[in-house]
């Protein structure tokens, strides 16, 4: 609260001022009245001045002073005035008794002056009224007495009247001054009261507004806390940057994403915080958003960013259009994109499965005809008769079989059932794959190393499915010109990991991203159908496992198959080639 806001109050008119004013008035009245009477006595009856008269004068002076003093308190003044008036009337009565008994009478004007003084509280009008009442009373009293008892001579009466008149005149003058003083004092007092009232009102209003302000501050603090909590629990990074591209505020995710504490971000320029590559992107993005004054979203996918990020810039302008700053919002969309890609892949495979089921019948029947007819034709030949034809027919039969295998492979996508699983060590399956690969290994001159010593305990698997997976992966490795292929198993808390590691030519990022797509192959013309990995993926997925590829061009490939060690109860076998 500032000092200037408070009115400086004038010192209140002290009550003692009123008192002094009235005392002075009383003294004046008394002095004038007594002087007037004394003077008239001296002038008119110098020879008759006796001790009694002097006493009377003092008594009168004291009474006058008292009456004037008592004007200060009106209520008490009333009582005293009535008392004085009664005293005056007592004097008249005493005088009357004294006169009637023939003794020396009391001077009657005492009553007159005392009565006059008694009316002092009512000011001039009061005194005039009192004078009239007392005079009339005195006159009526004197008239009722025998003639010889009239002691006041006409000169004496005149002196009394002069004194009374002088008293009245002085009273009038002083009363006017007094009235002016009182009026002034009253005015000051009213002003002061008004001022005090206004001060009280303003203090009250100020206190009310203080209370409201304090409530508002507390509301705002709560709102601020809520906003902070919301922004800190927001999964994306969110910040406010001023017009000079200096960070004003950032949320918790901003710290995590950019790996800096808030204190190191706030107050710094964007160009100081970010690498030149990222800052160039941001700068261009911000410039575009400011150009058309709109919210603008871009996807950042550059080195130096931990993930693919969708960044939104929202300019903040005042009502006059002036730029205050902008909000930057970033969302990591890598996971979302990966999930979308996974969904797309699943949908592609499902569509392919449906299509394959539809065409399987149409392909398998002619393939069976071709196969049987080629075999029949070959059977009709003598092997030595036409070796070329024999070879050609053998080739036709083999290719017809391959058609059937391809269709069967594709159909595995459409399989709805879980494979039949039995508990067995993974080593058995891997060794069986090694036996089946022997011919191809000899052909390529590559070597195969098997190490499954870390996982001796049985695991619930569909042996034929996993065998196919291992065969597919190892065949892929050999087709990628691997010289050494290692198949190694290891234990994870709830899983078994089977790695097929080769030192072949590896895959580029683009090839790797399509590796699971059906019919995608890098070994076209080299026996590859492009179905091996997609079939393997399906088989592993049916086991509740995952399959991952780590590869780079020129450095070989590692494919990791992760299978759960605990499996769901086995379902009936559905893929047997023959029944009994």
């Amino acid at each position: 609260m500032s000092a200037g806001a408070v009115a400086t109050l004038p010192a209140p008119a002290p009550r003692t001022q009123v008192l002094v004013s009235r005392v002075r008035f009383g003294i004046y009245t008394a002095i004038v009245a007594v002087s007037g009477m004394g003077l008239s006595e001296l002038l008119l009856r110098p020879h008759a001045l006796d001790p009694l008269d002097g006493t009377q004068l003092y008594a009168i002076a004291v009474l006058l002073c008292s009456s004037a003093l008592l004007r200060v308190h009106e209520t008490e003044g009333w009582a005293i005035c009535i008392g004085l008036f009664a005293l005056a009337m007592t004097c008249v009565a005493m005088e009357r008794v004294a006169v009637l008994s023939g003794e020396v009478p009391v001077q009657g004007y005492i009553a007159l002056v005392m009565g006059t003084a008694a009316m002092a509280p009512w000011g001039l009008r009061g005194q005039i009224g009192a004078t009239i009442v007392v005079t009339v009373g005195y006159w009526l009293n004197v008239r009722s007495l025998p003639d010889h008892h009239v002691f006041l001579t006409s000169r004496e009466s005149s002196s009394v009247l002069v004194a009374a008149a002088a008293s009245l005149y002085i009273t009038w003058i002083l009363d006017r001054e007094h009235a002016a003083n009182v009026h002034e004092l009253h005015r000051e007092s009213t002003q002061r009261e008004e001022l005090e009232r206004r001060v009280r009102e303003r203090t009250l209003a100020l206190s009310e507004s203080n209370k409201a302000l304090s409530a508002e501050v507390s509301d705002r603090r709560r709102l601020q806390d809520q906003l902070l909590l919301i922004s800190d629990s927001f999964p994306g990074f969110l910040g406010y940057v001023d017009g000079d591209q200096r960070y004003v505020w950032v949320n918790h995710a901003y710290e995590t994403y950019w790996r800096r504490p808030r204190t190191e971000i706030v107050g710094r320029r964007m160009s100081e915080l970010h690498t030149p590559v990222i800052y160039r992107l941001l700068e261009e993005h911000i410039a575009q958003a400011l150009d058309d004054s709109s919210t603008r979203t871009e996807v950042y996918s550059v080195d130096g960013l931990r993930a693919k990020v969708e960044v939104t810039v929202m300019p903040h302008r005042g009502p006059d259009g002036a730029l205050h700053g902008f909000v930057i919002l970033g969302l990591d969309i890598s996971a979302r994109e990966a999930a979308e890609e996974q969904t797309r892949r699943t949908e592609r495979l499902a569509a392919l499965g449906t299509l394959a089921a539809g065409i399987a019948h149409e392909i398998n029947n002619p393939a069976a005809s071709i196969l049987a007819t080629a075999e029949m034709a070959r059977d009709s030949l003598h092997p030595t008769e036409n070796p070329f034809l024999d070879e050609a027919l053998t080739g036709i039969a083999k290719e017809a079989m391959r058609c059937g295998q391809i269709v069967r492979g594709i159909l595995r996508f459409a399989r709805e059932e879980a494979p039949l699983r039995a508990l067995q060590p993974i080593l058995g399956v891997v060794e069986r794959a090694g036996e089946l690969l022997r011919g191809e290994l000899a052909l390529t001159g590559a070597s195969l190393h098997i190490d499954c010593s870390a996982t001796p305990e049985p695991i619930a698997i569909d042996a034929s499915g996993i065998l196919q997976v291992v065969l597919n992966l190892a065949t892929n490795a050999l087709r990628a010109q691997a010289k050494v292929v290692t198949i190694r198993s290891s234990l994870r808390p709830a899983h078994l990991a089977l790695e097929v590691i080769d030192d072949g030519r590896g895959m580029s990022t683009a090839e790797g991203s399509r590796a699971f797509d059906p019919f995608f192959t890098t070994a076209r013309g080299n026996g590859g159908t492009g179905l091996g990995l997609s079939i393997s993926h399906t088989i592993v997925a049916q086991h509740g496992g995952t399959i991952e590829i780590r590869s780079a061009a020129g450095t070989g490939t590692t494919v990791t198959v992760v299978l759960p060690r605990q499996s769901t109860p086995p379902l009936p076998m559905v893929a047997a080639r023959t029944g009994t």
Partner: protein, 119 residues
Amino acid sequence: MNILLVEDEELLCRSLTQLLQRAGFTVVAATNATDAMTAVATFVPDILITDWLLQGDIDGIALARRLRQTAPELRVIVITGLLAATARSEIQRAGIVSVILEKPFPFADLQAAITRITQ
């Protein structure tokens, strides 16, 4: 040994008939179920080799079921181009099929199956 071959693919039907005859079997071939039913009036087969999906109202399983009513010892081999898992379990539930062969198959597989079920 008598074999009744029912297959609606004519080329396959002819080639398999040839191969089976050369292998020493007596073969009567039909391309639909009606012809097959007619054929059994004069021919008593030991083995029925039939396509599962045949043209007409009667499929291979229904045909086998009918023929088994008069010849309970009849062995049945089903050959099919489309074998969804549900179809396989349906065939197995019928309880009259000894072997299911998926097309295309080498003749050696058929011979092996015949050998196995006649032993």
